[in-house]
Symmetry: D2
Subunit: 362 residues, 4 copies
């Protein structure tokens, strides 16, 4: 259960890290949207491991494959099923450690919940690999959002305690062209140094990513419960490793007085805007027309080569585990692509629900 | 739209601040649960304004009224409808300022989304008053959770930048018996001083609340999308003023290495536990059996008496607004009761979905 | 569970026959719709018992009470909660027979499903009285459908085996002005005679009602599963006593060849129509623009005064039951109002889902 | 939209007649169920064309392919994705007639709803071919129902006006071993003769199928709206060509008095049963423990070789169409397999919702 998200642009995930494929079905995509595998591939490629920050030895082409829903180069209104096929899964090593849950991983809870029937190879459906499906869905959602001018950018604001604080502007070009997805190259260099240090220590690093959506039409979000914040947060907590979500001033609101935190309304070139954006573009759970700003906390990758204390479930005794092989030292920059994708999915769903994106694209 | 939450324990909110009542329908409450208005009243009373931190002049009895679903003192399996009737709403003042949205409020976005048809009196359905319904639903959910031993406590960890850092243990008795809902009375005194200062300045304060649920059975949460984190976060962002949600180490994960953040599994008295709880009791979106720990950021009440910049929507020109009357200086302690209620609602829904709470209570 | 229906125009039912009230919450009603209690009362009155066909001694005013969602005479976009208050429930008689389920009633299955905690007074939430809520929701839905010209008429086509076959046209005026809701007064007279005979025998009669919706825009229905037929059928089977639903030629298709059953497309005054309407206005689960025609089978009221065989659940032995008091001999004509209401609810939901009715009425 | 069905055992359909594949994702299948492709294939084969009644020239192996959710021969709790790959689609002929909708088909409504972007080759997602996915999901559902003893049999009760009325008992062996799926071989012979006659005339025949589920536990169905009747009907109307659904005495209730239609409760071998089963095993929308009996009306296949009147949408003028190639003369017997599958899907969903089938199979 729980593998579908959304009410009008509904995505359903399937597949496992070491199974046949990772797939996603999109139900509710309007008819008439031009869509090709190249459109999706461009987004998938942003999620790929890059040598600077990761070193996963698994070589996957992650080539987008459209299984349904496209005819003559356009969506038909029928479900769009997208898949990437697993080609380089090496599962032999997992039998040995199947009773020894990795600290910080879903191994233990998946074992409990599914009575030991869960596919433990590479984390099964709990693998970060499943976010390939999220990114494919995000690519379609973004194409729909393009129709109403919404642009989304996700960038790294902190890694291993190193804060990006040098940038004046956030340029998509700068962000997308450095492996740290950082808005400032000097900050990126510091982050990289921290990552290199952690790698040498057999350790991993977490961080914080910020997603910004501009040109979001006012009126997205369905209070009281399907608020823009609530729906976005739910979508973002589906990204493995995310442990916190905040909007606008976020946890910083505790430091502000009402007179500081309230964003004054002003008329600017005939339009109502706010002088500040502590609300992150959301008031009463509804978009205000200002940029939607969200930050997520990404925990350090749990798979580390340092020896860790754990248990043997079968023997019910304490055990130690040193995870072999090479792993991502820091998934934060890769997670930026997933954050942008899930923002797109959620905003697109709410835009369809509000009738802002039509049922047929003409 | 969006006024229902949950999949098995489904709550549907209705009512407005200055309408007839605030109500909530619970669909999916198992049959056979003993339930009286007194059970609900006890929780509602925790949400009441208290003189220390608030000074809302509106006098509402907020008496729980059961409209359906109870027979011979037990739930019947049919929907439970609960209401509190509005008795002291004074709406005359709102006509004057209906075109002048309060900064930081939903006034502006509700106007846009609902084409000006929204009930603007006291914020209509966006009023914090609607959380009375949340608390009533939470009272029922908590009674169900009692059957499996789950206890929830919410306490204030920060107000106006004053951090509660003196406590060694978190005692429900201490928390519930001081108006700040703080685990340490010395910290509570400091927070109170900050609140008094803000009150004198015609300003307001935000803060941070922490919710802790113990004895949560392992296995709650339905990945990939209906994760324990995602579902809780969605429920918590329904509380007006919440701008951030984090679990366990939360945004602090960015400062930790994997070797620090990973919670080591250990055998303790024949059970598997973790040595630390940076995960907040959640791994892979599923409860691990450790305490579920969540913190929410609550923004300062937007209604302040200081003069603020805003606009007149009808005239499309800049305007000023000084909100008359007395308002809550700091809603953080009252929000603690709502946080606990929404945690109960969400955990109860997931426990029912996982089949841990039965369909009929015997 | 299961007390909500719809995806965009979502109705949630609460209340019991002998409880405080019967209520319905509508979530998703667009803002800006003029709505008064008089609008709803007009529909409720159509459902009232009439002396010709029923003789329920319970005297209920069934006065519509709006609890939320209306401001300045218009819907606000917030949930609309509507109720009728029970005023004449006499519950004393039910204790005696609580262990003796009435044949054909929900008494037995409700007892099993809810572990004996169900409210057995007057059938509790299984009472036909709950359809007062359906009719109130239908009144709101019909006002929305009026905006796009959809008109719905339900009429009696059979009672106790007496078929209405004399009418040439179906006139709303004729249907609404005879207590049988029959399109021909001669047929109505025959049905009435059959009812009188059954009444004299202490028995009851079932029948068939037909609902017709005209001006239904093409494109309603969301295949594969939320088809117009599937969604309508689900809504109609919520009406107590309905045991069959058929569209267009319905079960008669078994007698037809493809060349007879296929409705030929033709151009008529510049529009595409079909020469016949065996499809009942629905092809591939989607409305075609032709009238939507549905018929439902309504079983005879199970409450009859003749002695019947049943069991005593507490003693687990055979028993006899003769239901005292006066009951409806034939609910078919009253059910017509409910059929029309549920058609309106379902069509309105699909029209909102298809974006044909806007989010804000201007 | 609308391509998912169910609340706990949720199926999501994708694929088109002439696309890459037909697929179905099952979310909510309990972990621990032994499942192989052979299990699914056995059911798929029952849906295959057979020479007696059909003559579709398309040669599809319809081999079940498991894409996810199975590990070590058991379900894992993760979504199960199943597909059959299209291998023999010949699409060239469809371009010529794409503007000429086939009478009785979804061609016209799909064109309208999806703005002409629908995949018109072989009916696209409206093709009967999509029921291959239904049957695969049904195979999984039936394996779960096996755990609680539920058996389902679907048999043909009428074809082209020829009623099966000779059988005394309904034997699964007889039904499954004649191509008509008829409970009596003499009746089957008469039906076959009618089919041969229609074939010679270039015409097609409809019919009626009955589905019977035995050992259905009491308590399935979630009133008021997710009733057993409502949920089953919704599932069954998803089968192309179904135009009517009735339970137990169905439309015949109009001919019965209450004293005839009411099923008397009786004690039999220490259990409560009913003497008759006019209710079709359902009272108040909840299963009573008696056999669940449902009948569906299946319209004649619209694709016939006789010349028919239609229109040219592009030219907006009247046109004629004679559908080339060989088609099923009568899909009724093949639809029986689909009926059984959808009954299984729906009953399984309700059994999971009621907690009767556990979350993990041990």
């Amino acid at each position: 259960m729980g593998n579908s998200l959304g009410k009008k642009f509904v995505i359903t995930s399937f597949g496992e890290s070491h199974g046949r494929c990772i797939g996603i079905v999109i139900d509710g995509c309007p008819a008439g949207l031009p869509l090709s595998e190249a459109d999706i591939q461009a987004e998938l490629d942003k999620r790929k491991p890059n040598d600077a920050v990761s070193s996963t030895p698994r070589q996957e082409a992650d080539k987008a494959d459209i299984l349904s829903g496209i005819f003559h180069g356009h969506t038909t209104g029928a479900p769009v099923c997208l898949a990437v096929w697993n080609e380089d899964a090496k599962s032999s090593g997992y039998e040995k450690t199947k009773d020894i849950p990795r600290p910080g991983h879903a191994d233990y809870t998946a074992f409990l919940k599914y009575g030991g029937f869960n596919d433990y190879r590479g984390g099964g459906q709990f693998s970060g690999r499943n976010t390939a499906g999220f990114v494919m869905a995000g690519a379609v959602a973004q194409k729909l959002l393009d129709l109403i001018g919404v642009k989304i950018l996700a960038h790294t604001v902190e890694i291993g305690g190193v804060r990006a604080d040098s940038y004046d502007v956030i340029s998509a070009e700068v962000v997308n062209n450095n492996p740290l997805r950082c808005a400032d190259l000097r900050d990126a260099a510091k982050m990289l140094a921290a990552i290199e240090k952690a790698r040498a220590e057999g350790d991993s690093l977490g961080g914080i990513i910020e997603g910004i959506a501009i040109n979001v039409p006012a009126g997205l979000g369905e209070p009281l419960f399907d608020t823009l914040e609530g729906d976005l947060a739910k979508a973002l907590f589906a990204i493995p490793a995310v442990k916190g979500v905040e909007f606008g001033a976020g946890f910083g609101v505790s430091q502000l007085k009402g007179s500081q935190n309230n964003d004054a309304f002003r008329i600017k070139r005939g339009k109502i805007v706010t002088a500040t954006n502590n609300s992150g573009g959301i008031l009463g759970g509804i978009s205000s027309g200002m940029p939607v700003v969200v930050r997520v906390a990404v925990k350090p990758t749990p798979s580390i080569s340092r020896k860790q204390n754990t248990v043997n479930i079968a023997k019910m005794e304490n055990a130690e585990l040193a995870i072999k092989g090479r792993h991502d030292v820091c998934i934060v920059p890769r997670a930026a692509a997933v954050l942008a994708a899930m923002m797109a999915v959620s905003l697109c769903d709410l835009a369809l629900r509000a009738g802002i994106i039509p049922e047929v694209i003409k």
